[in-house]
């Protein structure tokens, strides 16, 4: 036992690489970004201190507000069907009589591991109004008479970006829900059946309340992930009237297309504030329901 106490400080050596790595590649870049956000800098001449000028510009930047709105609308359009679908499928696949569980789970999960950029390009091709399969399919079954230009309509552009996101994440959420369902002990259901509860009552009064922590987990991860939507959205473009330009797309374009690093830094912290705000709202809302 003596050796164990003596060796305890070795723990610092084992965890040190994480802290060194985080400091160099995580923390210092964040602090440097914060520093840049108080500067005026084009990347060539020396940075000049301008105080809060970038932030006051950000607060008056209607373009930035538009990207917040776009991101939120796309997020809501994708999260609602995504969670409903994930929950329904999880409940069905948790039933004992269903055959081929693994096959269905694997098929639903597959879109999640495909490169998001590839998904974005794929959907932009499928929904292309002249050559895409979607228009061809809808015309051949008689729903459309002539090709419809999806990416000409702000609403449809947003729906398509949301559709890609939904399609990409519902299988992941379903797996999380199934794991949550399987963590509910069998005895709870047996007791309810003995008490004569109907299936609907069991679902509403037992399953859903017991799944709450899992819902919270999914909701918070999807707020953080969904508000940072970038890869697939970039491939689908900014949309008509900039209707599908997301917050991170705006950050990328400001900093790495227009080379306005200092204002881009302020945009990065603006996005951070928005994400933190909605994470806090989500956490708060789920506590209030208790």
């Amino acid at each position: 036992m003596n050796t164990k106490v003596n060796k305890s400080y070795y723990g610092y050596f084992f965890i040190a690489p994480f802290f060194v790595g985080f400091t160099v590649f995580g923390l210092v870049p964040i602090l440097y970004t914060l520093y840049l956000s108080f500067m005026k800098w084009d990347g060539f001449t020396d940075p000049v201190y301008v105080g809060l000028a970038n932030y006051s510009r950000l607060l008056q930047d209607s373009f930035f507000y538009q990207t917040i709105g776009n991101t939120l609308i796309i997020w809501i359009l994708s999260i609602v069907p995504q969670l409903i679908l994930a929950l329904l499928l999880a409940l069905i696949l948790n039933e004992k009589f269903v055959r081929g569980k693994h096959f269905f789970r694997a098929v639903y999960f597959f879109p999640h591991i495909v490169t998001p950029v590839t998904l974005g390009v794929m959907f932009s091709l499928l929904f292309d109004w002249q050559t895409g399969s979607v228009n061809k399919l809808l015309m051949s079954v008689g729903i459309l008479q002539e090709p419809f230009n999806w990416f000409n309509s702000p609403l449809w552009s947003r729906i398509i970006v949301a559709l890609v996101t939904c399609w990409q994440y519902f299988g992941f959420n379903m797996i999380v829900f199934i794991a949550g369902l399987q963590a509910i002990p069998e005895t709870v259901y047996e007791a309810a059946e003995v008490d004569g509860a109907t299936r609907t009552q069991i679902a509403l009064k037992i399953t859903l309340p017991l799944l709450r922590p899992v819902f919270l987990f999914t909701f918070i991860t999807s707020v953080i992930g969904g508000l940072q939507l970038f890869d697939s959205a970039l491939m689908l473009g900014a949309g008509p009237e900039n209707s599908t330009r997301t917050m991170v797309m705006y950050l990328y374009e400001t900093a790495f297309k227009n080379f306005d690093y200092s204002y881009g830094s302020a945009v990065a912290f603006g996005i951070f504030a928005v994400v933190m705000f909605f994470t806090a709202v989500t956490a708060r809302a789920s506590k209030l329901k208790e």
Binding site: T3, F18, V98, F104, T115, V117, L126, A179
Partner: protein
């Protein structure tokens, strides 16, 4: 709920119909992509394609004349494998450190590690770019590989595993044999952590394989570029050559499809395990 009772046949049919309909929705875009990639542009524009054509090679030739997509594939393999190996080693190191040593501020430091998971990835991207510029590391693979040293989720997963599956007695006996602490970790602990490393390795691999923003801003040379960035550039370079674009997507999806068909059980149970612990 757990269906000890017999289900009415109509309910069963409706449920299966629903499951199959969703499965078709998942697979149809991929099917359409495969089929379309085998047709000439004139056919792609004219009609709905349901059966394979014979123009795949022609589309493929036009694609690789301009974009060295296999080079991008190999670049991505190199970056992903290296980064995943570093990720696994240092996650195991940190997780083991948090699990088996009692040092001051341990609880606080572990909370700090978990807290770093909440930071959105793009927050420091501009500073990261500028810092890598200062290190003269732009247009190299270092900025894509070295940050794998810190992976909070990996440390969390490895600590959980070491807590439950690496017995402290085995470490004690290593010390009695006179091994150094790092030698104990390398010879005794690391082999025991295999199962957790397999799960973490899959996540790290997929995440790195799909990484897009970092290589896009860090790398300038087309020859160094990764597959996702090449796919993105195919979209802009071949804006009117749809056949070539479809071939590009097929080349991006097929390796993932093969990987997934071998690993799907492991990946899905890993996701489930990660979710329950998180």
């Amino acid at each position: 709920m757990q269906g000890a009772t017999k289900q009415p046949i109509a309910v069963v049919i409706i449920l299966y119909a629903f499951l199959i309909a969703v499965a078709i929705t998942c697979l149809l875009p991929f099917y359409s992509m495969f089929i379309t990639s085998t047709h000439a542009n004139s056919d792609i524009a004219r009609r709905l394609l349901l059966i394979p054509g014979d123009q795949f090679m022609a589309n493929y030739e036009r694609l690789i004349d301009t974009v060295n997509i296999w080079r991008g594939f190999l670049n991505t393999v190199f970056i992903t494998v290296t980064a995943t190996a570093i990720n696994l080693y240092f996650a195991a190191l940190g997780g083991y450190g948090f699990s088996k040593y009692q040092f001051r501020f341990k609880g606080f430091l572990f909370l700090f590690v978990l807290g770093t998971m909440m930071i959105p990835g793009q927050l420091g991207i501009i500073g990261f770019y500028k810092l890598m510029d200062a290190f003269h590391m732009l247009n190299t693979y270092w900025p894509l590989i070295l940050p794998s040293i810190y992976n909070a989720f990996g440390i969390f997963l490895m600590k959980q595993f070491a807590d439950s599956s690496v017995p402290t007695e085995i470490i004690e006996s290593g010390r009695i044999d006179g091994s150094g602490e790092l030698a104990i970790f390398h010879r005794i602990v690391l082999p025991l952590m295999g199962p957790a490393m397999a799960t973490l390795g899959i996540f790290a691999f997929i995440g790195k394989w799909n990484d897009f923003l970092n290589p896009m801003i860090i790398l300038f040379d087309n020859e160094l570029q990764t597959l996702p960035v090449m796919i993105a550039s195919v979209k802009s370079q071949f804006s009117s050559d749809f056949g070539a674009q479809y071939v590009g997507i097929v080349i991006s999806v097929v390796p993932i499809l093969i990987f997934f068909s071998f690993m799907s059980k492991r990946i899905i149970s890993g996701v489930a395990a990660g979710a329950v612990k998180g």
